[in-house]
């Protein structure tokens, strides 16, 4: 494998030395472009008290190309499908090389705090969310308890 770009090394160092509150990102031993990520559910959200596992991969073209991020923990969220894929503008069209791993993960955390059922990825969840918001939030809470409890 080609040597790691300086930018990735710097970002990794900073993630470890100065981590974002509620977020951890640990590079994989074998592949420093692959990170094991955990994000704590934001307070006041249905995901409160949950710890969600994600994986993050920096493609070869990073930072010209957005990192690939995916939820590994099951989550009931209108913008996250059952594959764990995330519908988030900064991961797709709105990516900019000025963004970093930490800013992307912060955006993901913000997405948990403010689900957007009007631009859904998981259609069934979004429908549920729009029609019976209370029930959907209750279900999200339940799933958080079921799947995202810290071991």
């Amino acid at each position: 494998m080609a040597s790691l770009p300086k930018r990735i090394i710097k970002e990794t160092e900073r993630l470890v030395s100065d981590p974002v509150p509620g977020i951890t990102a640990i590079p994989h031993e074998d592949n420093l472009r692959y990170f094991e990520v955990t994000i704590e559910g934001p307070e006041q959200s249905p995901y409160e008290n949950g710890v969600f596992g994600l994986e993050l991969f920096l493609p070869d073209d990073y930072p010209m190309e957005a990192p690939k991020v995916r939820f590994l923990t099951k989550i009931y969220h209108p913008n996250i499908d059952r594959l764990g894929r995330i519908c988030l503008d900064v991961l797709k069209t709105n990516w900019s090389p000025a963004l970093q791993i930490r800013t992307v993960l912060l955006s993901v955390q913000a997405l948990l705090a403010s689900p957007n059922p009007n631009d859904p990825l998981a259609n069934d969840v979004a429908e549920d969310w729009l029609q019976h918001e209370d029930a959907a939030i209750a279900k999200a809470r339940e799933w958080t308890k079921l799947y995202a409890t810290r071991q």
Partner: protein, 326 residues
Amino acid sequence: MYVPVMTTCGHNYCYDCISNWLVSNNASELTCPQCRSPLEHPPALNATLQHLLSVVIEIGAGSDPQLGRTRAQSIAQYKNDVENNILYKDVFNNTAVAVVDDDDGVARCSNCHWEVEGDVCPHCNARMRNRTREYDEDEEEEILTDDSIQRSFSGARNSSTTVRADSISSSESEYGEDLDSDTDYVRDFNRNVGESRSRPAPFGSARDILNRINAQDRRQNSEDEDENDSDLNSFIVDEAEEDELEESSYTSSREGKSARVPVRLDDSDNSGDEDKERDSDFWEHNDEDGFASGDNLDSDGGADEDTGRKIKKRRFQVIEDSDEED
């Protein structure tokens, strides 16, 4: 940063870096990475900053030979681009319009007629002034849901998607591929649906032949249902088979399997009790050279029809043979 350039919005970048971004960026508009404001004019050299930086570099790194070399390279690159008038690989001037071909619905670059995906022509690097982004995954899925054939199989499709969720391995090499292959899968799906629509005939006629050849009692109804769906089911099952079968998908793909090989099911039914009847009737009509017996000629009463039947029969025989090998 040896060749700092400043955008119209006032942000400074290294020439190499911003150039890479502007060239690789597949969006319709060139934007500043920092503030996302659209860039209509190429960033210009910031000579003051360059001077300042050179002072800083000299103080900080002194006469590091490695640094000196990269610095000379960067400056040479910039000078070369200026002289040849290809700053930023000409992305600010090189534009075209994506024209959708009425015949095949493919968007093409108006400069070179190359097929355009995204907003930059992969052939001449021209940036499309009109957006072509609509040809994305979302669009394809929309087509799928509208498709009447797809609707009847939405159950199976959904379940195979579930398999992916469970089977996507967490190793980084497969990670990207899996996500991508999901898109491919949708594309394959479209293609397969299209194909199966365009050639439903073989299955209908094959069934007729099958009924005539095996003139014994068989469970016609269930067979008919299976036959009608067999083509579509077969590829759905293939998709599911690629994944490890787990959880809910397991049942559905099993259904798919049994539906996919109706002929084989009949086979196994017959092999026990009706073996002898099959031998006399079936094998006579399925001679190795595909030659039909006299009985058949009479019953059909036409040489033309017979040739047609011969071909069809062969087709059927192939299916039988391959199934028996299993």
